[in-house]
Amino acid sequence: MPDVAENPSLQPWQVEQVYAVSPSAAATAAAEALVVGGRWASSGCDGRAVWGRCSGSNAEPYDCAADYRMLRYRCTCASRQVPCKHVVALLLMWARGRVPAVPPDMPGGPRGHRPHWLMRWLDEVPVATGSAMSPMPIAPVDAAVDLIGSPDSATLDIPDGDGLARDALTSDERSPDDRRARDQKVRSTAAGLAEFDRWVHDRVRSGLADPSLAHPSAWDDAAARLVDAKAGALANRVRRMGAAPVSRAGRRSGIDARVADAVTGTASLEHMLAELSLLHVLADAAQRLDTLPPSLADSVAIAVGWQVRQADVLAGVPETDDWIVMGRSDTREDRIEVRRSWLRATSTGRWAMVLSFAAYGQALDDSLVVGRRLHADVFRYPGALALRALVGRVHDDGDADDDAAHLGAADLAWTADTAGACAEVGAMVAAEPWIERVPVCVVAAPCRVRHGWGLADHAGVLPLAVDGDALGVLLACTAGGPLPIMCEWTPSGLLPLAVFLDDRAVDIGPVADPAFVSGGLARTVAL
């Protein structure tokens, strides 16, 4: 019998209401100890009930539910108390907003979102009209589902691709077909992420010394499944791990080399574990976006690979400022060359990152030349850090002969010492723990450190992750003295991208292989 009286706009109970139904103060105290997210799985609530699985002393989790419309409680534990401490804990979590609401219109038939045991139990007692104790909002759930849009391109954020923004309509605005398609994509992505997380668990279970990990195909297969699940950005990170030095060492001579590498290549193994753990965090977070703060949910969604249409970003409110192109860095992501251009607002010191993509034979955007200043509208993508941005209207791009294009000392006023750079990196890592690159600009001098090179000032030394010509040019430009140097922080160290001399900016960032992309690059610009 359908629950005709279910009301999707019901509010959760107050904590005091939960205390009121608890059988005893001892039960309440015991329940409070269970109000921790890690104990609960598959929890949810809707217009009639709240449910979840609680890990307890038993090997099998307890199925708990509360029919808060009819004031009935159920748990598979052995307790004779009703409600038991598990149900009270579940109600407390619900009252505190820690149980995700589930939309009532999920496909699969009426109330198909509920577990079967719950449906059977709820059907035992139909809801009487007007028996609701309180209303519950459902909108945040819909908003969260909107967030995990429908990217059609899985590997990279292709401008104007079908994506999140198209789904940013209210449920009423969507056609049933749209909703079904969206829900299908959401389920597909969630299933793919869950599968990937299991794969990560299995790798840790069998050990990172497993010779199968020495073959790129192991990583490529996992990446391909993520691509199928529309988690392209995550797939790229997985694929990069297949190209890590430790894998190559193992691939050359099998397990023996791999075990030997455990001694000599500890850094690579540490990197592998660190990266796998962060991928696990991302995959886990992306499966419960609706429980995250909106800006963090945006960051997770974008880090996983869901997309935002360029047009929707450009429809936002711009940051109009004098922007300096501080650095540029090219990297190959699978079969695409990616150029990151780092801009900094002169009035606020905020960073913005503009991406450009090129497939084989195509040209990367070379309009943002390091050292140039432009007065422009910059539109930011959503996210906790919101580093990624698009350049909109350029009001004044003063060419090299124009005084407006020449930088002065004040334009580099946002540079920091190494301690300040550490603080900037720390703040950004705290906001997005999976971030791989953080822009910093330090006034420092290159120096020798134990195993390589570093950047030093009065506050200390930070390691550099650079060698070859870029290191040579850095040494030549600084001649061992302090200069403003724009770097990308990476887990391996600072990667210098540009050096600012008195009369010029020198671009020393990694450059795309000219055999892969077309076009040239101006690497020295007069200031």
Partner: protein, 301 residues
């Protein structure tokens, strides 16, 4: 806390390397990591390793701190060099030169030294690396770069010459000879430092006779470009403005032979770049000489 964190991290790495089937995950150390383990209970051992590894990774990255500078870490600067550095535009021109007309590089390097300049620092490393197999050029780069070059080679032997063959000082700055067909040798008879009449004098007329006229008539094909390139790379800089104007006329002229543009276009690019390179260095030999090339057939009215 740092040592505890590092110890815990090493234990996690060991566990992950061997696998949780073979080794139990280490217990979280007291403090925030233990609180995290209690708040976010993981049901299986891999989950505990991943949870703790993620937490330690974020703590280490977020807690990035600069270390103390080693006693011998600071670099001694190279001896100072009072010569003015080449301009930023010179760097851009050099990039174009090596990409399109490397035949000009010897002259440009010599002109840098001759005009009392030194190479801008961003050029020193690519030039040292580029010419390390050619002792003469490498030596010229070292002269043009000054003490900075020796300082850099001291840090990176990769920038040093591949051959220890000594280079005679008098040979520095002498441009290597380029192959030119006998009928065009006369164009190079005037030395680059010899004075030239404002209109190019006899050399200007010779250029008109031997190059521009035949070019207009279609006597040169694309196969002649390498030879003509060598001529344009070595001809007296004083006639470059004349040649530039004459080539422009050929490209515009409707009466020019159809094959002329295939030769005139690359030559004009070379001549233009050579003029820019020398003018950027303040070379007095290139100026805006009035273009008087009577040998170039004009359009019919």
């Amino acid at each position: 806390m740092t040592s505890t964190l590092d110890d815990h991290w090493r234990a996690l790495v060991s566990t992950a390397l061997l696998g949780t089937d073979r080794r139990e995950p280490p217990p979280a150390p007291p403090g925030l990591l233990a609180d995290l383990a209690a708040d976010d209970i993981q049901r299986d051992a891999p989950g505990r390793v991943l949870q703790q590894a993620a937490a330690v990774t974020v703590a280490r990255r977020g807690g990035l701190a600069s270390s103390a500078l080693p006693d011998d870490g600071r670099l001694s600067p190279p001896p100072s060099d009072g010569r003015p550095v080449t301009s930023p535009s010179a760097t851009h021109l050099w990039q174009r030169m090596v990409a399109w007309w490397p035949v000009l590089e010897d002259e440009w390097l010599s002109a840098v030294v001759a005009t009392g300049r030194r190479l801008s620092p961003e050029l020193v490393v690519p030039l040292l690396a580029r010419h390390r197999g050619n002792p003469s050029r490498h030596e010229l780069v070292r002269v043009a770069a000054g003490p900075l070059a020796e300082w850099l080679i001291g840090w990176s032997a990769r920038l040093g010459p591949t051959s220890r063959r000594p280079v005679a000082p008098e040979s520095l700055g002498v441009l290597p000879e380029l192959s030119v067909t006998p009928d065009l040798v006369a164009l190079l008879a005037v030395g680059p430092d010899e004075p030239l009449a404002p209109s190019g004098g006899a050399l200007g007329e010779l250029v008109g006779t031997l190059v521009i006229g035949p070019l207009h008539a279609g006597n040169f094909a694309a196969g002649h470009v390498p030879v003509l390139t060598n001529v344009m790379a070595r001809i007296h800089p004083g006639v470059l403005p004349l040649i530039d104007d004459a080539l422009r006329e050929v490209l515009r002229s409707p009466t020019a032979h159809p094959a002329a543009s295939a030769v005139a276009s690359p030559l004009r690019s070379l001549v233009g770049l050579r003029r820019q390179l020398l003018a950027d260095l303040g070379d007095h030999r290139v100026g805006d000489v009035p273009a008087t090339m009577p040998q170039v057939p004009r359009e019919e009215p």
